[in-house]
């Protein structure tokens, strides 16, 4: 936070009004603080765990065991998806909102930085899986594009859930909420008979599944944008509407407000 304000101050940006587009000039000096505040260790650790796990599986995937397939890649990618839930965060959001730069710039920058890391992880996973397929295998290999669409959709859903959790009273635990919640939502969609024919392959066709997951990803990203641009400030209690009297957990009297 201090780094961000300092960077803005150096740039002579006025912290008062935020007319459309004037804050764009503050982006170049913001780049460095955004890079430095990015949770690199967590994201890269999760991606490395994904790759290490897949590498261990690939080590054991020799005849007569079947070669690794998209299922293994999907499961191995889960730690990376879970780590993504912790990326979009704005420390001290009420204070950040008073700066000339919109509050969503920092989490959006973090997400942009995370994208190539996740893409590289996905690429490495596909390379590991391809290495387990024995040469001269008869028949076509499963298509890769539905898998990429699925993983993209999972990431987008996770980011959207995390962004909305950030706007709740549980903002501090938004990542811890978003990771299991989004994974549970994906699992539900995957296994529920009503939705599985659209999002899982099989029974869905590769083409159809790809379209559905990219549509889900687009919707999730739009929702993420709405959540990150939301400037509503949450109060734990409304200050001006008295309610029935009560006591808090420490025993102090207060008035319940709804």
């Amino acid at each position: 936070m201090h780094r961000l304000t300092a960077a803005l101050r150096d740039d002579q940006t006025r912290p008062a009004a935020r007319p459309g587009g004037s804050w764009l000039g503050a982006l170049p000096p913001l780049t460095r603080p955004i890079i430095r505040t990015m949770p690199w260790v967590m994201l890269i650790t999760a991606c490395l765990i994904s790759l290490a796990y897949l590498a261990v599986l690939a080590h054991f995937a020799h005849a007569p065991s079947p070669p690794l397939g998209p299922d293994a890649a999907r499961l191995a990618f889960l730690p990376a998806v879970a780590a993504l839930a912790f990326v979009p965060r704005t420390p001290v959001r009420p204070l950040t909102q008073t700066t000339p730069v919109p509050a969503w710039v920092v989490p959006a920058g973090h997400l942009l930085l995370a994208a190539p890391i996740l893409a590289a992880t996905c690429w490495a996973q596909l390379r590991i899986i391809a290495g387990t397929v024995p040469p001269h295998t008869l028949g076509p290999l499963p298509a890769v594009y539905p898998l990429i669409a699925q993983l993209t959709g999972w990431c987008a859903v996770t980011v959207a859930v995390a962004a909305w959790a950030r706007r709740s009273r549980y903002a501090d635990l938004s990542g811890a909420i978003a990771a299991p919640a989004s994974l549970a939502a994906v699992a539900l969609a995957w296994y529920a008979p009503i939705t599985s024919r659209f999002v899982a392959e099989p029974p869905g066709s590769p083409h159809g599944v790809t379209i559905v997951w990219y549509a889900v990803a687009s919707t999730a990203l739009a929702l993420t944008g709405v959540a990150m641009r939301d400037r509503w400030h949450r109060y734990s209690r409304r200050p001006h509407r008295p309610g029935p009297a009560g006591h808090d957990r420490a025993g102090y009297p207060f008035r319940k407000n709804r």
Partner: protein
């Protein structure tokens, strides 16, 4: 601010002496008692928080859903169901791990370490209390076990639950919680707990990827992966799974994780912790070694003998001149098996000369390394040869008069039982009209034959519908509108009908059963709309004629004075997603033989 995150005040917590008196040398009996009271008081609060934790509650719910998903459709065999209950416990364990990590990492995550350090209770005391507070997860786990046991018990299970397996599920939850505290003591970021839970789950979900008996060393290998043949066994098999050793391993891991958590948060009594850790490690390793031992040869010999010569193990009874042979313990399925067969027999004008036998078969895969690891290849080859001679139809029962029921495939109730009863009735009806044992050899090898345009096919389907009264939607499901299935016979694509449960493997009809056609089903469906006496009269009049494979369905329709239902033709070039094999750019597709037996 307390370690309880603002919860109620701690009775006895204030009794601890000042921090300066907390050296081991200075611990008097009174201060030890005070510390014990503090730990117990904190543990009570932590346990209460854990019980109310929304993650744990969601874990119980998700675990219940997982157990229900695995158990609702399956035949309730206790040696299989108790392991499935543990799979639900795995879901709960993931939730408990995350919740425990969040709890243990709270001071560092909230940057309150200094404030917590000013409390009378030391960090190690709080950690000890958190470990004891894992007792809060026990009711959740027991609730899950109790509900699942009740669910299985209500469905009339076979066998008895293994206490070691059920206890293993409980220990899994506690071990996961202890691991969560150990992680949280060192890594306060919430992501660490989520990662731990994912590693716990993914290794179990993908346990089939690990060689030999290594899946048993993982938290809880999923039955569909690591322990995949439990539901195919006719009874419990010693060492499959190695339940007691697995429970001991989980207990060792729980203690080890607790010691790690304490070692991270205390600088005293390191020697004691190291000694306890060594003991826990030894127990864990010993339990792991026991799990890696191969299943005794005598037990596998017995299993293979049961599969190869079922007569040596099965109990056979004869009812209505039909012989039923079932493995011990499966006798309670007899009424459910007899009912549809008797219904079919009741509507027959005359019985075939060959007697009908309904018997259970055991399908085990010796290529599964979890089952046969540690045994020499020659021994496995001998077992495989022994099993090969026991394939249905090769044994003393003629293929044309045997209906085979794979062990563990018969559903316990609900809609699936209706489907299974229909499949059994259809198999009996196929035997009755001599459609059994008619699989032929085509250009592609052994293949189901197709009774194209044969009257006896419609008669068999009509008998099965009459015997079990399945819903029209289930029957119609084999003919999705505008989505016909087909098979190629004599360079002509014949629309086929997939009867309910065709892919579920509840029953293997005599000779593998024919591939039924859409025309046969539609005629049978039209027959069910006629008065039953009228159809029975027409069939009884010239029963021998209808059994002749040359008698056509059109002749039957004419005898019943109904128009032959028209079958929509399959388009020559199907759009993607439609199944319609036939001549393509590469030439004619695989040809199926006509049933002529």
């Amino acid at each position: 601010m307390t370690t309880t995150d603002g919860a109620a005040a701690l009775p006895g917590a204030g009794a601890a002496g000042p921090p300066g008196q907390h050296t081991p040398a200075g611990l008097t009996k009174r201060s030890r008692a005070a510390r014990r009271r503090t730990v117990l008081a904190l543990a009570r609060v932590e346990a209460r928080l854990l019980i109310r934790n929304w993650l744990v509650l969601a874990g119980v719910l998700a675990g219940g859903i997982v157990i229900w998903t695995f158990l609702w459709a399956a035949q309730p065999l206790w040696w299989d169901a108790d392991w499935q209950i543990g799979e639900g416990q795995l879901t709960l364990a993931m939730a408990v791990l995350v919740a425990a990590q969040l709890s243990a990492g709270r001071p560092r995550r909230d940057a309150m370490t200094d404030l917590y350090a000013s409390f009378p209770a030391r960090a190690s005391t709080r950690t000890l209390a958190q470990l004891a507070g894992l007792a809060g997860a026990v009711p959740a786990s027991l609730l899950l076990i109790g509900a699942a046991v009740g669910f299985v018990q209500l469905r009339g299970p076979i066998g008895a639950p293994s206490v070691a397996v059920l206890a293993g599920g409980l220990l899994l939850v506690i071990a996961a919680g202890a691991a969560g505290i150990a992680i949280g003591a060192r890594f306060s970021h919430p992501m660490a707990g989520v990662l731990g839970a994912l590693v716990l789950a993914i290794t179990s979900w993908q346990s089939q990827r690990f060689p030999g008996a290594i899946p048993w060393l993982l938290a809880w290998p999923l039955e569909s992966n690591g322990a995949g043949q439990l539901d195919r066994l006719p009874g419990p098999l010693a060492g499959y799974p190695p339940a007691a050793a697995h429970a001991a391993e989980l207990a060792g891991v729980a203690v080890l994780a607790g010691i790690v958590a304490l070692a991270v948060t205390t600088r005293r009594a390191r020697a004691g912790l190291a000694a306890a850790g060594a003991v826990a490690m030894a127990v864990t390793c010993l339990a792991g070694a026991v799990q890696l031992r191969p299943i005794p040869t005598a037990d596998l010999n017995h299993l293979v003998a049961e599969a190869a010569s079922p007569a040596s193990a099965q109990h056979c009874t004869t009812a209505s001149q039909v012989r039923y042979c079932l493995y011990p313990g499966f006798g309670r399925d007899l009424p459910a098996l007899e009912a549809p067969v008797d219904e079919v027999l009741a509507h027959l004008p005359a019985r075939p000369s060959q007697p009908l036998t309904v018997l259970q078969v055991l399908t085990i895969f010796l290529s599964d390394p979890v089952l046969t690891h540690g045994h020499p290849a020659q021994q496995i080859a001998r077992w495989a040869a022994q099993l090969q001679h026991a394939q249905p139809g090769v044994s003393d029962i003629p293929a044309a008069s045997g209906i085979y029921l794979p062990v563990g495939s018969w559903p316990a109730g609900g809609g699936l039982l209706t489907v299974a009863r229909f499949d059994l009735a259809l198999a009996a009806a196929e035997w009755a009209v001599h459609l059994s044992g008619t699989s032929g050899i085509s250009s592609n090898g052994l293949e189901s034959c197709v009774p194209v345009g044969q009257a006896r096919e419609a008669v068999a389907i009509w008998l099965a519908i009459l015997a079990t009264h399945p819903s029209a939607s289930e029957l119609q499901g084999g003919l999705p509108a505008g989505h016909l299935f087909g098979t190629e016979v004599g360079n002509t694509i014949v629309p086929t009908w997939n009867y309910p449960g065709v892919g579920n493997g509840y029953v293997t009809p005599p000779g593998g059963g024919p591939q039924l056609t859409a025309a046969g089903y539609l005629l049978a469906s039209a027959m069910t709309r006629l008065p039953q006496q009228r159809v029975a009269h027409v069939l009884a009049g010239v029963w021998g004629k209808w059994l002749n494979w040359r008698t056509t369905d059109a002749q039957l329709a004419a005898a019943l004075a109904i128009p032959m239902p028209s079958v929509p033709a399959i388009p020559p070039h199907p759009s993607p997603g439609r199944v319609a094999p036939g001549p393509g750019p590469e030439g004619p597709g695989p040809q199926s033989p006509v049933c002529t037996g």
